[in-house]
């Protein structure tokens, strides 16, 4: 691969992967809201 193609590919893949990972990680790390919230799976959980 040419250097310029390699730079374009690696930089794009890195940026997209890091940002995707960051936002998904932030979703996972954010504690759930007080009930009633929008989601039914945690409705029976004690808080």
């Amino acid at each position: 691969m040419s250097s310029i193609a390699l730079i374009m590919m690696i930089s794009t893949i890195t940026v997209v992967t890091v940002i995707t990972g960051y936002f998904f990680w932030k979703v996972l790390k954010t504690p759930p809201r007080e009930e009633p919230d929008s989601f039914s799976e945690n409705d029976d959980e004690k808080r």
Binding site: S2, I4, T12, S40
Partner: protein, 548 residues
């Protein structure tokens, strides 16, 4: 009739369902072809810019509009839009958000059924020992309905979609997304590794995987200021995110006001970008270039990615031996199937939401009626695929309608609902604070970009040569909306066939014109039918005193 209360099961499930709605066959078949045709690696610059200035703002607008309407008891765009302004015509603009989903599902489910069928044929070794021409011919025979098999797979696919929809959001759609999205990513990573690690001389490959990647990612910076490239990038962003359809608003309408949408929209949107840019770019082109060479792939991409995906890849997988051919074929078409079904399920929910809200239908009745409509509306795309009905649905419902609706909804959100209220709505309950600059972007930049995409499609110059059109006079391309309406391209072909004295071709093309015009009338009838239902619902609401 009893109504079941819909809700999402979990936040991750909602995000995966939203990402699944966006991730479709286009991520793997359309994006790499668009990149190749529009400057290679340089395409990613306008693509990312358009994602930031058009894609992300539209995602926020649709999530916010959906949640705003949902808190007022509306789960489909006619009355979501209606709740955002006192003028009465918005609910008829909102008809697009149901019509588009019905019409796109009608042909998309057929496309989805091909992936199921190709999984079956991979496992049963139908492609074993076939030449490239034979595999390509298999596709031609299939869509030419040389047997009833395509109809059987289509019906299976429709019943599967309808059955899942009848299980509701958390019990059906979300469960499929939770299984389908991780599997899709797993399959994609496996195939990307296989493609990239391809070595010249092994299993008959003439190039290594890096040759295809080099071909795809080498930037041609001379194209960067071309309007054609920017329009292609904006179009790709637009279609990959499934904005302008009404399904995002529907999904978001089940989110409460105090819960986040700003971060959720970002997470789902970027997940789609990961699948498209990282996985989508690393499979089809490296494998195709590895076996066919750059010139042949350039030639093949002129007819889009479907040809490579269905006519060519099964043959190329066979070069890797029986075991890998089965694994890779199942993974590739399985990946496309999951990409397809998570999108087609989203197309069913606006209709179901509308009928439940307005006519008190049960979830099951909504789902099975959706299946019945898609069956009736989709039948012409199956039976008359070669007469251009499939492409006609794709053009008017899957392309033009999306841009028109997105343009209307962003004008409503930014200019009528107002950006002050709009930003408050986006940030309400947010786990991230949307930067204020996006208020300006949503009000000015996104509508201008959308208008550019619409005008670019409306008056596309001949050969997509914008510079030439500005200098030498504007001649419309036969692919422009104006010329499409008048069937100019087809008329030219008929005239040329008449001049050449080829009566058989004249008859074929005349018949095609008839089918194309009939399919347009059918689509118009569907739009009119949904608009009439909205009118009845409106009268019903007035009668019941349901308007505040």
């Amino acid at each position: 009739m009893a109504q079941q209360k819909e809700a999402w099961g979990s936040r991750v499930g909602l995000i995966l369902a939203m990402a699944g709605n966006a991730v479709g066959l286009g991520n793997f078949l359309r994006f790499p072809v668009q990149a190749i045709q529009n400057g290679g690696g340089a395409f990613i610059i306008p693509y990312i810019v358009c994602f930031l200035l058009m894609g992300i703002p539209l995602l926020w607008v649709e999530w916010a509009s959906g949640r705003f309407g949902g808190t007022r008891g509306h789960h489909s765009t006619p009355f979501i839009l209606d709740s955002m302004d006192k003028r009465k015509f918005w609910k008829y603009i909102g008809v697009f958000g149901i019509f588009t989903n019905l019409a796109v599902a009608a042909y998309y489910c057929y496309l989805e059924s091909w992936t199921l069928s190709w999984v079956w044929h991979t496992v049963t070794r139908s492609f074993a020992g076939q030449s490239q021409e034979e595999v390509a011919g298999f596709f031609g025979d299939y869509v030419g309905l040389n047997s009833v098999e395509p109809i059987i797979f289509w019906i299976i696919c429709l019943v599967l979609n309808t059955w899942i929809l009848s299980k509701g959001l958390s019990g059906g759609v979300e469960k499929v997304a939770k299984i389908g999205m991780p599997l899709l990513i797993l399959f994609g990573v496996f195939l990307a590794v296989m493609a990239v690690s391809l070595k010249a001389g092994e299993h008959g490959a003439i190039n290594g995987g890096s040759v295809g990647l080099n071909f795809l990612w080498t930037p041609d910076f001379s194209t960067i200021w071309s309007p054609k490239v920017w329009l292609a990038a904006a179009g790709q962003i637009f279609f990959t995110l499934s904005v302008g359809m009404g399904s995002i608003q529907c999904y978001a309408s089940y989110v409460r006001k105090k819960d986040d949408i700003a971060l959720n929209a970002m997470s789902a949107g970027w997940m789609n970008e990961f699948v498209e840019v990282v996985l989508g770019a690393a499979i089809i082109i490296p494998i195709s270039v590895g076996y066919l060479g750059v010139d042949k792939v350039i030639e093949m991409t002129k007819s889009g990615g479907l040809g490579l995906g269905f006519r060519t890849l099964p043959f190329l997988f066979e070069q890797w031996g029986t075991v890998l051919a089965i694994i890779c074929g199942v993974f590739w078409f399985g990946l496309l199937f999951f990409a397809g079904i998570t999108s087609s399920l989203a197309m069913g929910t606006p209709w179901m939401g509308f009928m439940t809200d307005e006519f008190g239908w049960s979830r099951q009745k909504g789902a099975w009626s959706f299946g019945a409509i898609v069956l009736i509306l989709g039948l012409p795309t199956v039976l008359f695929f070669n007469q251009g009905v499939f492409d006609e649905y794709d053009y008017w419902a899957g392309t033009v309608s999306l841009v028109v609706f997105a343009l209307a909804e962003i004008i409503l959100f930014a200019w009528v609902f107002g950006m002050k209220r709009g930003m408050q709505e986006i940030n309400s309950g947010g786990d991230i604070q949307v930067p204020k600059i996006f208020g300006f972007v949503i009000k000015w930049i996104t509508p201008i970009l959308l208008l550019g995409v619409f005008l670019g499609a409306l008056i596309t110059p001949a050969g997509n040569d914008w510079a030439g059109a500005l200098q030498n006079g504007w001649v419309l391309d036969n692919g422009s909306i104006i010329k499409q309406i008048t069937n100019s391209g087809l008329k030219e072909q008929i005239a040329a066939a008449q001049t050449a004295g080829d009566q058989a071709l004249v008859d074929t093309l005349t018949e095609k014109k008839l089918y194309i015009n009939a399919s347009r009338l059918l689509l118009l009838a569907v739009f009119g039918g949904v608009a009439y239902l909205v009118y009845i619902a409106y009268r019903k609401r007035i009668k019941e005193g349901r308007f505040v």
